[in-house]
């Protein structure tokens, strides 16, 4: 601890330079803190998908339906604890730009399978009573300023016509990363009103009695429907979400690439700064060694300086990013979720320190190797 003052004094030497370097870290880590939630949103909840759920879709394509009659057969497959289903509605609220996902779901079984959705008891009861009812997620309600009791008109794009729903309740997630940008309404209402596709559902979701059974149960389901007019493809929800996200382009990879480039640039910029800092201080480093500082001690001082810069900038950037994400989805609902988990903050801080150490490594080693006699002659 007694050397901290020395490290601080060196940082204070060129205030502008130190501020700029700390600022680079802050900007990079802020970017990191915003990219992580965006990637999370576009990975379609792959990180949060339940390990105990399987998604059953039409083998030909996700957009092809499956017969309603499959429900009972799915319930008969050993290892299946519960079955629910949903259909993509694809309606437009006022304007195309107001996109949000709408699903027709089975009112009786949906929340058994999706236990991470939280709906107040009396709101759920109202939804079960109200044929035209719907439930919306917290962030979606916030986006459009909806309150319980509002009537929500949607223009059908797939199922044409003017549709109206009663907002019976708002759901939250048990965890902050649950997607609350969706609207859920009753499948029986869709079934009654639609002109085509009666007797079919978009996909099934199967809850497993035991998550370890995923592979066996998935195979059993697909085998059972093999050679039928509606063959199935059964995947874990994670795999399903991933393939769903792929339709949006590989946002995850893009985000990771941007992040990697930013960190690499940061490494070069900081490495250069530290190299300059060491070079212009050659004489002083030699004096420290003369006075009795060991080679390793001098190495530590330079590394400490670099890591301290990284730590300060990283903490600042991540703190700002956390504040920013607490303010909610900046696109006001376009993102499925917008949440920066503490684990990612920890990861980001660790990365910052690592970049700081890596950037300081070469200059620190040259400071360590510095020959006192030659350096003193150059003073």
């Amino acid at each position: 601890m007694r050397f901290v003052g020395l490290v601080w004094a060196n940082l204070a030497r060129k205030k502008l330079r130190t501020t700029l370097t700390v600022g680079s870290f802050a900007v990079a880590l802020f970017l990191f803190g915003v990219l992580v939630p965006i990637r999370g949103a576009f990975s379609g909840g792959t990180d949060v998908a339940g390990a105990d759920r399987l998604t059953v879709i039409n083998k030909t394509s996700l957009i092809m339906p499956l017969p309603f009659s499959y429900r009972d057969r799915l319930l008969g497959v050993p290892g299946v604890a519960a079955v629910t289903f949903a259909t993509w509605f694809g309606g437009v609220y006022q304007d195309e730009r107001n996109f949000f996902p709408q699903f027709a779901v089975d009112k009786d079984t949906w929340f058994d399978v999706y236990s991470e959705y939280v709906v107040p008891k009396e709101r759920l009861a109202e939804f079960l009573r109200d044929r035209q009812g719907c439930l919306v997620g917290r962030s979606l309600a916030k986006r459009f300023g909806w309150k319980v009791g509002d009537r929500i008109p949607l223009r059908g794009a797939i199922f044409t016509g003017a549709w109206e729903f009663n907002l019976d309740g708002i759901y939250d997630g048990k965890r902050p990363d649950v997607d609350t940008s969706q609207m859920l309404f009753r499948y029986d209402y869709l079934e009654e009103q639609r002109q085509f596709g009666k007797g079919t559902v978009g996909w099934y979701v199967v809850k497993l009695a035991n998550p370890d059974d995923a592979v066996r149960v998935a195979a059993a389901i697909d085998d059972g429907f093999a050679n039928s007019p509606y063959e199935t493809l059964t995947q874990t929800e994670k795999a399903f979400a991933a393939s769903f996200a792929k339709q949006m382009g590989n946002i995850g990879l893009l985000v990771m690439t941007i992040g990697a480039v930013v960190f690499f640039t940061l490494l070069l910029v900081t490495g250069n700064t530290m190299a300059i800092a060491v070079r212009e201080r050659t004489g002083e480093l030699a004096v420290l060694k003369t006075v009795g500082f060991s080679d390793l001690g001098v190495l530590g001082l330079v590394l400490g300086e670099s890591v301290l810069i990284a730590g300060q900038g990283g903490a600042l950037g991540l703190a700002l990013a956390k504040l920013f994400t607490l303010g909610g989805d900046p696109t006001r609902g376009m993102l499925a979720s917008f949440y920066l988990p503490w684990s990612s903050i920890g990861l980001g801080f660790g990365l910052a320190l690592l970049v700081g150490a890596a950037a300081g490594a070469l200059p620190a080693i040259s400071a360590m190797r510095l020959g006192v006699v030659d350096a003193l002659r150059r003073v």
Partner: protein
């Protein structure tokens, strides 16, 4: 008694025998020190003189364990330092040697106090103990009232006094000063020499100093000239180019 004939009985503080230092510049070899002998006892004040390039700085660097000789031995207070590992030598230096340079070599971003405290950071002393030592050292050089000043806020003479305080704060066994007045005006130089003289007389310090300045050399008890790689006894006035 200071001796340069290699006949000292070994009871002294510093004992140098057959010291050789060669530098290699390309294919050419330069013999800077050749068979140099020196015996210095505790509490002596020795001045080294000699023309530029005669090897004075080289000798101080060797005595201070900053550099290694080509051959020969240096023994300080019983420790033979020419065979120590680099790490051991660094630790030895921290305990035994105080350096004073021509250009003061203070750390510009540290206050006078923090500059003097530097060597103590390597000891086990507590913060309060360090403060006491620093205050004593700054008191000896008469700069207690300037301890919060940065080097750029001090005159050259004051900077050199801070450097001397840094050299004595950890109670070094001996001080090495390389042209400590070389960059100072007459008045400041006299003050520095007065201070070094006082350290020897009143505090029993041992000082080995390189100087070009006959007036500075007069303060020392012994003046030695570097000639053809070895030391010869002389006077302050002798051997100085007119």
């Amino acid at each position: 008694m200071v001796r340069v004939d290699g006949e000292g009985n070994g009871g002294g503080l510093i004992r140098v025998r057959h010291l050789d230092k060669k530098y290699r510049r390309g294919s050419e070899e330069i013999d800077v020190l050749q068979g140099l002998n020196l015996d210095v006892e505790q509490g002596e004040f020795v001045a080294f003189m000699g023309p530029s390039g005669s090897g004075k700085t080289t000798l101080l660097n060797l005595l201070g364990g900053l550099d290694l000789p080509t051959s020969g031995s240096i023994t300080v207070a019983g420790d033979e330092i020419t065979h120590m590992s680099a790490a051991k030598l660094t630790a030895w230096r921290a305990r035994h040697v105080g350096f004073v340079f021509q250009m003061y070599n203070l750390i510009p971003v540290l206050t006078a106090f923090a500059n003097v405290e530097l060597p103590l950071l390597l000891t086990r002393l507590s913060k309060a103990q360090r403060r006491r030592h620093v205050e004593v050292a700054l008191g000896v050089v008469g700069l207690l009232d300037r301890m919060d000043h940065y080097p750029r806020q001090l005159s050259g003479g004051q900077e050199q006094r801070v450097a001397i305080a840094r050299a004595i704060v950890a109670d070094a066994t001996f001080l090495l000063a390389d042209e400590p007045t070389g960059d100072l005006d007459r008045k400041s130089a006299d003050e520095i020499m007065e201070l070094l003289g006082r350290l020897v007389r009143e505090h029993g310090k041992t000082i080995l100093m390189v100087t070009h300045d006959p007036r500075a050399a007069e303060r020392a008890g012994v003046v030695l000239h570097l000639d053809k790689g070895a030391l010869v006894e002389g006077s302050a006035a002798a051997g100085i180019p007119a």
